[in-house]
Amino acid sequence: MSEQIHSVTGIDSRKLLMWIFLASDCLFFGALISTYLIFKGNIPNPPYPTDRIVNGEFFHGLLNIPLTSASTFVLLMSSVAMVLAVYGAQNNNLKMMKGWLLSTIVLGIAFLLFQVYEFRHFLHEGLGLSTNQFGASFYLMTGFHGVHVGIGVIILISLLFGSFRRNSLGKETGFHIETAGLYWHFVDIVWIIIFTIVYLMPY
């Protein structure tokens, strides 16, 4: 998006647009997280998210906290890589920018693969969208988060390919990477909240 660059406030309009969009996205995830919390603890039938004994019968919990901690670590590291890519872009270090941008993309895709594995595992264990409210609200919330990560990966790949077309940084490149970084960090923060609520809070 290279529309007019014009600003009374000194803030670039495109960056402002991104900030306000993220404000809107807060409410988007807010509604998803609220849905999850409303149904939390009210699961009538297995499979359950955590280990549970019902009528003397033991049910193994679905959530694999060590595994998801690893995927959370991967996503957090992608944010670090993103910061370094922005640093490279702003300090005219094309090589550094490309390298860390590639790392961000790889880490983002790795997170998505973790999520694909987790979804497949849960499905295999018998948790479908219609099984219980945990399934419905979990898949919807983490699914939409995954879509956000996926869109972020597409944006970053586009920026990376854009940077291959020239040998030096364009005057706008640093700005584009920084604005994409805002989005990336936001999606990361949302995951920290989801991870805390789904995996760390006792069910």
């Binding site: 009374v8 809107s24 409410l27 988007f28 807010g30 509604a31 998803l32 409210q133 419905a136 919807l140």
Partner: protein, 599 residues
Amino acid sequence: MTTAIPLHAKQESNTGVWAWLTTVDHKKIGTLYGISGVIFFILAGFEALLIRTQLASPNGTIIDANTYNQLFTMHALMMIFLGVMPMGAAFFNWLVPLMIGARDVAFPRLNALSYWTFLSGALLLTSSWIFGEAPDVGWFAYAPLTEKAYTISKSMDFYAVGLILLGVASTIASLNFIVTIINFRAPGMSWFRLPIFVWMIFVVAWLLVLSLPVLTIGLVQIYFDRNFETNFFNPMGGGDPLLWQHLFWIFGHPEVYVLILPSMGIVSEVLPTFARKPIFGYSAIVFAGMSIAVLGFAVWSHHMFTTGLGPVPSIVFSASTMAIGVPTGIKIFNWIATMYGGSIRFTTANLFAIGFLALFTIGGISGVMHASPPIDTQQQDSYFVVAHIHYVLFGGAVFGLFSGFYYWWPKFFGRFLDEGLGKVQFWLFFIGMNLTFFPMHFLGVQGMPRRIYRYDADLGWDTWNQVATFGSYMLAIGMLVFLYAVWKAYKTEPNAPDNPWDAPGLEWATSSPPPEHDFDVIPIVRARDPLWYNRDNNIVQEDTKEAHIHLPPPSYYPLLISIGLLIGGIGLLSTLVISFMGILLAFYGIWGWVLEPTD
């Protein structure tokens, strides 16, 4: 001097279908919004006429119960999302850049994208009539009626997908206008010199940006419940129907202010001009608008008093609802004080504005009555509520919009709407509106429920229903008079001067209609009412020619992306393969958009 300015080489030609399809000019997009809004307003009004005809006499036989359900549902959906909101969008597209002294919005192509996406959603939603599967469970679509077990037809899928598309369109437009108002103000146009209309649009845009995502999630959940067998709102599967009510009204109540605030802004421009006085209590009106927005997010559960929230939530939401009466009252008194002592000109625009004041006040008072849970419990689902919403939405929002049409028509098109016809329309609307909706207060108190398609003869509801139906035909005739006035204006030669009303706003500083680049010279703003300040201090606008005015070139990518989204929506109603193709088309459009040069 207008001919001396060499415009950009890729400037679009002014006529032809292709020019309209690819336009990124905020004025043309405003006109497109206006035309679509008026057309859907008329269609939705026609649905209301059918409803009133059915109810004119006891045991009406014109329409059956199912059609009746579809009519009242689609009437509300079309009036709100396809009539009043786009007409408001027509005004803010046209006026915000002109009023703040800008040449266009911050993101002209995004602006086109929001219009075409709106049209996609509108066509998708209304096409449900063609398939005979129009939504029929009320515009609020309470669960579990929306579940597959109760609604087998595709009607609720049309509802969910159509509203998601409309929500995307509104979100894009709101983001665009927030950035425009923050960043594109002319030199000297500080925050507290902004016209009140612009302030109100700023507030509306924030309301939409923060409330629409919540509705979107609710709609996605409806869609999942119906198509992927989740049970979000299905109590039989452990779901919670009240969750939908919360999600819907967290959006739905701010939406009420989304409908009324543009009209409040219009009235705040019209009344001072015709009272020849600056607006009274400018900052009070601005802060009242902001507090309405903040409080508007804290009152949603007053729509749910009868669901048994318990005493504490009922008290809290009752108090916050009553509190909203305070900023609203501040505005009404400020408008009255603006007129007080002025030498008032009773033009059609001013009549509609004064009509707005009177009728909106009546609707506001009955609204405060509903804020009390015991009274609300009695009035819930009765015609009393129908009377209330039509006083604020028709007497309020729609009167404000028509005031704006008569006021700004000469600016938009260089031609006046006939004042004589306008006054005929005003009185038809004013009397017709009161005849239609005031008796509904009585009907409601007598116990007539909403959304019934017929009633028995011995209930004593005949007379007032006949009066209401008579009034609704007056409204229809009033609308025909408006269309005739538009046609008549279209046939006349442009003759409007730059500032026919001697108005203070910046939009009157440019020619009527404005050139494609809005202003030959970006004006400098020295006071809150810039043109009055210049007039009183004999300041003539500087005549420094700008050698090169950059205008964004036309683009067909917004249309392409919207078609992609429309195909995506159609796919959600048929097979997901089509959806996938639509998303691919949208991605192709985004790709082209990003690589398209804008210089």
